[in-house]
C-alpha cells in the first residue's frame, strides 16, 4: 500500500471523464457551481478558510505553500482599500502543462474556485492572468465566462445572495517571468514585468499596491472540490502531509505522455507504468520530477520515492509543479542541461545582476562543453556560478536556473567529464 492508497480505483475529480465539461450546461448538470451556491448561502468566510486549512491543500504553482494559511494572511476588509485575488495561469515552465488542461477541459471549475476564494477573503475582484500563447483557451474561457455572467454566476449579486465578484481575464505577452507572482502583478498593472523585492509581500502590497492573494490555477480548482466533498476527503486523499488530487504532467521518453490525475504520494515507478513505460523498452536514466527548475534525479535515486514534498525532499529534489520529465538511457545529459540553461538565459528578466549575467555565462560554458571544447575546470566554474547566483537575487528564477545546473553536474558528473577536453596533466 502506498501513500496514494487505492489509486487504481481513483475517480478523477479535477478532470472527470465527462464529454463537453467545458460547457456551462454540462458543468452544471454535473453538479458544478453547487459548491458556490452552498458556500454563499450557508457558510461564513471564516468557515471556508478553516475548511481549506483543514484540507491541507498546498499550492500547486511550485512552492507548495499551504493555501488556507495564505488566505488567512489577507488583512480584513477596510473601506476604501480594495483587495484582490489573482489566479496565476501563466504556466510556462518547461515540462509543466497541467493548468492548460484544466483551462481546456474544465474552465468553470477554475471560475468557481476563484469565486469561492473571493468569498472566503471577501474580495470583489479576481484577475485571471493567462499566458498569452494559450490563445485558443483564452478564447474558450472568455466565451464560457460570458455564459457564467449571463447565468448570474459571476458579477453582481451572484445567484441573488447579495455577494458580488468580478473575474477579469488578462493575457500575458510571452514571458516566463510573468509567472513569478510579483512580476505578474507588475505586468497586470501594465508595467514591465520586473519582479518586486519582498518584503512587502503580496498580502501587504500586491496589485496597485493593495493586498492581494495569488494562487495557481490548479490550487484554486481544488477549492470547489473541498467545499463539496469536504476537507476530510481531501486530507485523506494521497500523502498526509501533502494531500489531494494532483495533475501529473508526464513527458519525455515514455510511451504515453500526458496529464494524469491521481492522488499525491504516488510511487514514481507506478506513474511510469501508468504512462506506458519507457519508449522502446529503454531504461530510465533520469527524472525531473517537478518542472525544469527542480533538481534532476538519477534512475537509481527514485526507488520507493513518492510524489509528495517530504519524499522528494528526502530523495534530493522537489515536488514543484509535478511536471515529470522522464529521460531514457540514450539521453545526453549535457545536451539536456544545455537546453535547460538556454531556457533560463532566454527568460531571465535581466533586472538583477547575478541572474542577468550568470544565466548567459552558464549557457556559454555548457554549450562549450557540449561542443567538445570545454575544460574540466569549467565544471567547477559552473558550480561556482551556481553559488554566486543562488539566494542573491530579487526572485527565484536565478535559483531555478542554478539548481538544475548544480544537480545535473553533481549527479551526472561523469557524463560531463567525458565531454570535456582532458586536463593537461592527464595527457
Amino acid at each position: 500500500m502506498t501513500k496514494a492508497g487505492d489509486w487504481p480505483s481513483y475517480q478523477r475529480v479535477l478532470l472527470p471523464p465527462v464529454r463537453d465539461l467545458h460547457r456551462l450546461d454540462v458543468y452544471r448538470a454535473e453538479g458544478g457551481y453547487e459548491a458556490l451556491g452552498h458556500v454563499l448561502t450557508g457558510t461564513s468566510p471564516a468557515e471556508v478558510i478553516d475548511k481549506l486549512k483543514r484540507s491541507g491543500l498546498r499550492g500547486r504553482g511550485g512552492a507548495g505553500f499551504p493555501t488556507g494559511l495564505k488566505w488567512s494572511f489577507m488583512p480584513p476588509p477596510k473601506p476604501g482599500v480594495p483587495r484582490y485575488l489573482c489566479c496565476n495561469a501563466d504556466e510556462s515552465e518547461p515540462g509543466t502543462f497541467k493548468d492548460r488542461q484544466l483551462m481546456e477541459y474544465n474552465p468553470h471549475l477554475i471560475f468557481e474556485g476563484i469565486l469561492i476564494a473571493c468569498y472566503a477573503m471577501q474580495l470583489t475582484a479576481g484577475y485571471l492572468y493567462v499566458r498569452g500563447e494559450f490563445a485558443d483557451w483564452i478564447e474558450l474561457m472568455e466565451h464560457e465566462l460570458a455564459r457564467a455572467y449571463e447565468a448570474n454566476l459571476v458579477g453582481d449579486n451572484i445567484l441573488g445572495t447579495g455577494f458580488s465578484a468580478d473575474i477579469f481575464m488578462h493575457k500575458g505577452a510571452g514571458a516566463y517571468i510573468c509567472g513569478e507572482e510579483t512580476s505578474l502583478m507588475e505586468s497586470l498593472e501594465g508595467k514591465r514585468a520586473y519582479p518586486r523585492i519582498k518584503p512587502p509581500f503580496p498580502a501587504q502590497q500586491g496589485i496597485w499596491g493593495y493586498p492581494t492573494t495569488i494562487n495557481n490555477v490548479e490550487t484554486l480548482a481544488c477549492a470547489p472540490l473541498i467545499m463539496t466533498r469536504g476537507a476530510e476527503w481531501f486530507a485523506q486523499t494521497g500523502a498526509r502531509t501533502h494531500p489531494g488530487p494532483v495533475l501529473y504532467g508526464i513527458s519525455g521518453h515514455i510511451n504515453r505522455p500526458g496529464v494524469y490525475e491521481y492522488p499525491t504520494g504516488m510511487l514514481i515507478t507506478d506513474l511510469l507504468e501508468i504512462a506506458g513505460g519507457m519508449r522502446g523498452g529503454k531504461r530510465l536514466k533520469a527524472l525531473v520530477p517537478g518542472g525544469a527548475s527542480v533538481p534532476v534525479l538519477r534512475a537509481d535515486m527514485i526507488e520507493g520515492v513518492t510524489m509528495d514534498a517530504d519524499s522528494l525532499r528526502e530523495a534530493g529534489s522537489m515536488m514543484g509543479t509535478a511536471g515529470m520529465l522522464f529521460l531514457d538511457e540514450d539521453t545526453d545529459m549535457v545536451a539536456f542541461l544545455r537546453r535547460v540553461a538556454r531556457f533560463y538565459h532566454h527568460e531571465s528578466c535581466g533586472q538583477c545582476t547575478p541572474c542577468r549575467e550568470g544565466t548567459g555565462w552558464m549557457e556559454n560554458l555548457i554549450t562549450r562543453i557540449d561542443d567538445g571544447q570545454g575544460n574540466l575546470r569549467d565544471l567547477d566554474l559552473l558550480l561556482d556560478l551556481c553559488d554566486q547566483m543562488e539566494g542573491r537575487t530579487v526572485c527565484a528564477l536565478a535559483d531555478a536556473a542554478a539548481w538544475p545546473v548544480r544537480n545535473t553536474i553533481r549527479r551526472f558528473r561523469e557524463d560531463f567529464e567525458k565531454r570535456c577536453k582532458p586536463a593537461v596533466w592527464a595527457a
Binding site: 523585492i197 535581466g350 533586472q351 545582476t353 544565466t359
Partner: protein
C-alpha cells in the same frame, strides 16, 4: 534609543532608516549602484549585500534570548540581504565586507558578473575617473575575470534625444535613468527594452528624449552609458577644476559646479542642495556655459570724437564714466540688474546716492510661460529677488522713455545688462550711456559713451537671492585679467587644493578676459568723482548690507557657506 551594531561598532538610530543610507551617513562605505537617495529602491544591482542578524526573541514573552553570559543570541538571515532595501531594527547586527568574508566574496562575485559583458573601455570613456563602476571595481572587485566568451553586443552611439547619447554596452541596467524619468521628471520618456542580458534603456517608439531635464540621467548613470552630446570627448574629468556655483539662467538658484580647464568653462553639472534643487539641474542651466567663454570683451572702451568705441586704459574709461556722471548730476539715472549680484546692485544704489542721481529700478528678464514650478522659472536671471529685497523695483520702460524724452534724464548708468529692447537706440540718442557689459553682443554698446567689461558669475564673488528668498554665493571659477588679490584668494579657497588639478593651466593667460568685477568698478568710479562708496571686497560689502538693510539682517559669507541660507522671514512678509 534603538541601536545597531555594524562591524562591531554600536550606532544609535532614530526612525526607520534604510541600512545603506544609514551607513553612508555614518561614513561607512558600502558598494552600490542602483540605489539613489531620491528615487525608489529596486535593489536590482545586488552589489550592496551584507550579512544581517537579529536578536532572537522568546515567542511567548517577546524578550530577547540571551546566552550563558547574558549576550543576546543573534540569528542571521539565511541569505545575504541588500542593504539598500533593508530597514534596520533595534538590536540588529550587521557585517559588511570588512568583517565578513562571505560578504566580501559576494560583493566580488557580483562585481565579476557586472564586468563580464561590460566593454571595459575606460580609456575612451567620458565617465572614467569619476565612474562608480570603475572605482568600486578597483575597491571591491575580483582580481581578474574567468569569462572567456564573446561579450554581448548592444547598440552604441544611440542618440536618445538632442542632448543625451547612449552606449548600451556600458549600461549595467541599474534603471536609475528610467526611474528618473518616471519618478522625478515624470516625462516617462525612457524605458528598458529587451530581456535578460540584452536589456537596455531606450525611448518608446516615436519618442525623443527631449525633456528639459534630460541631462540629469547622465549624472545619475553610474557608468558611462549615458553621455552628453555637448560634452563628450571634450575633456577628461581630471583635467578640470570644479568650482561650486549657482546656475544663472533661472531664478531658482540651482546649485551647480562649474568645470573649468585653462580658464574656459567646459561644462556645468548639478551640486546637491536639499533646500534648493536636491540633486537636479535643468538642461538650460548646464548648456549656457559658453556664455562665460565666448563673445567676451577685450577691455574697456570709450566713444571717441569720430563716434566709434575705442580701446582705452581702465583709468581713462573710469574717468570718462566719472565725468559723465559729474556732468549729469541729478540727471543721472541708474539701472540695476537681476543678473548682477546683491553686492553690485547695492553699490550701484550707493553710487547713485553719492552723485545725487536716481536708481530707476532693475532689469528683470521675464519669459512668460517658461517656468514649470520646479527648477525652471519665468524669470531668466538669478537675482531679481535680491534686487527686490534691496528695495528696487523692475524698471518701467514707458516711464523711463517719457523721462528721457522730457530731458529729465541726461545720463544712464547700466549695470551688467542691456537696455536695448526695453528702450530703443533712438531713445538714447541724447543721453550719455555708461554700461557694465559681459559680452560684445550687448546692444547697449552701440550707444555707450563708456563701456566697462564686467566679470560674470563664473569670475566674481557675490550673492544671489533666489525666488524663494534663499541667499547663495558664487565664487570665481576662472581667472580674469583684472584679477585682484581678493579674487585670487577666493579662487584658491574654492579649489580644494588651492590650485586645482595640474592639468588645468589656470595661470596660463591665453583665456584671461580683460574685465573687472563691478564691486571694483563702482567704487573706482565713485572715487574718481571724489565720492565715497564702500569698497574692500564683497565680503565686507555684504557685512555693510546686512547692517544697513533689514532684508539682509544676519547674512554673511560665513553663514551662507556652500549651501546658502534663507533671508529673514519677517522681511518676506513686509515685502509681500
Amino acid at each position: 534609543m534603538p541601536q545597531v551594531t555594524i562591524d562591531g561598532r554600536v550606532l544609535e538610530f532614530e526612525g526607520q532608516p534604510r541600512l545603506l543610507q544609514f551607513c553612508l551617513d555614518h561614513g561607512i562605505e558600502l558598494p552600490h549602484f542602483c540605489y539613489h537617495p531620491a528615487m525608489s529602491v529596486p535593489a536590482n544591482c545586488r552589489q550592496c549585500l551584507v550579512d544581517i542578524g537579529a536578536p532572537m526573541r522568546d515567542r511567548a514573552t517577546g524578550e530577547v534570548r540571551t546566552d550563558g553570559e547574558g549576550n543576546p543570541v543573534i540569528r542571521y538571515f539565511p541569505k545575504l540581504q541588500t542593504s539598500c532595501s533593508h530597514v534596520i531594527a533595534d538590536g540588529q547586527v550587521i557585517h559588511t565586507a570588512r568583517t565578513s568574508e562571505k560578504v566580501e566574496r559576494a560583493q566580488q562575485d557580483t562585481m565579476e558578473f557586472l564586468l563580464i559583458n561590460h566593454p571595459l573601455d575606460c580609456p575612451i570613456c567620458d565617465q572614467a575617473g569619476h565612474c562608480p563602476l570603475q572605482i568600486q571595481a578597483y575597491k571591491y572587485g575580483p582580481e581578474g575575470s574567468r569569462f572567456e566568451f564573446r561579450k554581448v553586443h548592444k547598440p552604441k552611439r544611440v542618440r536618445l534625444g538632442p542632448r543625451v547619447v547612449l552606449d548600451a554596452e556600458r549600461c549595467i541596467n541599474c534603471t536609475r535613468c528610467v526611474r528618473f524619468t518616471d519618478e522625478i521628471s515624470r516625462s516617462h520618456q525612457l524605458t528598458i527594452i529587451e530581456r535578460g542580458v540584452k536589456n537596455y534603456p531606450i525611448t518608446p517608439p516615436g519618442v525623443e528624449f527631449d525633456e528639459p531635464y534630460s541631462m540629469n540621467v547622465i549624472d545619475v548613470c553610474p557608468v558611462g552609458a549615458l553621455t552628453s552630446v555637448d560634452f563628450r570627448f571634450q575633456a577628461r574629468i581630471w583635467e578640470m577644476t570644479r568650482t561650486p556655483s549657482i546656475a544663472t539662467t533661472h531664478a531658482k538658484g540651482s546649485n551647480c559646479f562649474l568645470w573649468v580647464r585653462d580658464n574656459l568653462v567646459l561644462r556645468i553639472t548639478p551640486r546637491p542642495n536639499p533646500e534648493v534643487n536636491e540633486y537636479w539641474l535643468a538642461d538650460e542651466d548646464r548648456l549656457c556655459y559658453r556664455q562665460f567663454n565666448e563673445d567676451r570683451p577685450a577691455g574697456p572702451q570709450v566713444r571717441n570724437a569720430a563716434g566709434t568705441l575705442e580701446a582705452v586704459s581702465w583709468e581713462q574709461a573710469i574717468s570718462t564714466a566719472a565725468s559723465v556722471l559729474e556732468k549729469a548730476g541729478a540727471g543721472a539715472a541708474f539701472v540695476g540688474s537681476a543678473r548682477a549680484t546683491v553686492e553690485d546692485n547695492w553699490l550701484l544704489i550707493q553710487l547713485a546716492e553719492q552723485t545725487g542721481g536716481q536708481v530707476v529700478g532693475f532689469m528683470e528678464h521675464i519669459e512668460a510661460g517658461h517656468g514649470d514650478g520646479w527648477l525652471r522659472t519665468d524669470e531668466r536671471a538669478p537675482n531679481s529677488e535680491g534686487c527686490r529685497r534691496l528695495g528696487m523695483t523692475p524698471v518701467d520702460g514707458t516711464m523711463l522713455r517719457a523721462r528721457l524724452e522730457d530731458g529729465t534724464i541726461t545720463a544712464l548708468y547700466v549695470l551688467e545688462d542691456d537696455v536695448i529692447g526695453l528702450l530703443s537706440a533712438a531713445d538714447l540718442q541724447e543721453v550719455s550711456v555708461i554700461v557694465h557689459h559681459y559680452h560684445t553682443t550687448n546692444r547697449t554698446l552701440e550707444v555707450a559713451a563708456a563701456a566697462l567689461p564686467a566679470a560674470m558669475s563664473a569670475e566674481t564673488i557675490g550673492t544671489y537671492v533666489n525666488l524663494d528668498g534663499y541667499a547663495q554665493r558664487v565664487r570665481p571659477a576662472k581667472v580674469i585679467q583684472g584679477a585682484s588679490r581678493t579674487l585670487m584668494m577666493q579662487m584658491g579657497l574654492s579649489r580644494a587644493d588651492r590650485h586645482g588639478t595640474p592639468f588645468d593651466r589656470w595661470y596660463n593667460e591665453t583665456h584671461y578676459i580683460n574685465c573687472k568685477p563691478s564691486w571694483e568698478l563702482l567704487p573706482a568710479v565713485a572715487e574718481a568723482l571724489g565720492a565715497k562708496v564702500p569698497a574692500g571686497g564683497p565680503r565686507r560689502i555684504m557685512e555693510q548690507i546686512s547692517q544697513r538693510c533689514d532684508a539682509f539682517r544676519g547674512v554673511s559669507y560665513k553663514a551662507m557657506g556652500l549651501e546658502g541660507m534663507p533671508l529673514p522671514a519677517s522681511i518676506q512678509l513686509e515685502a509681500a
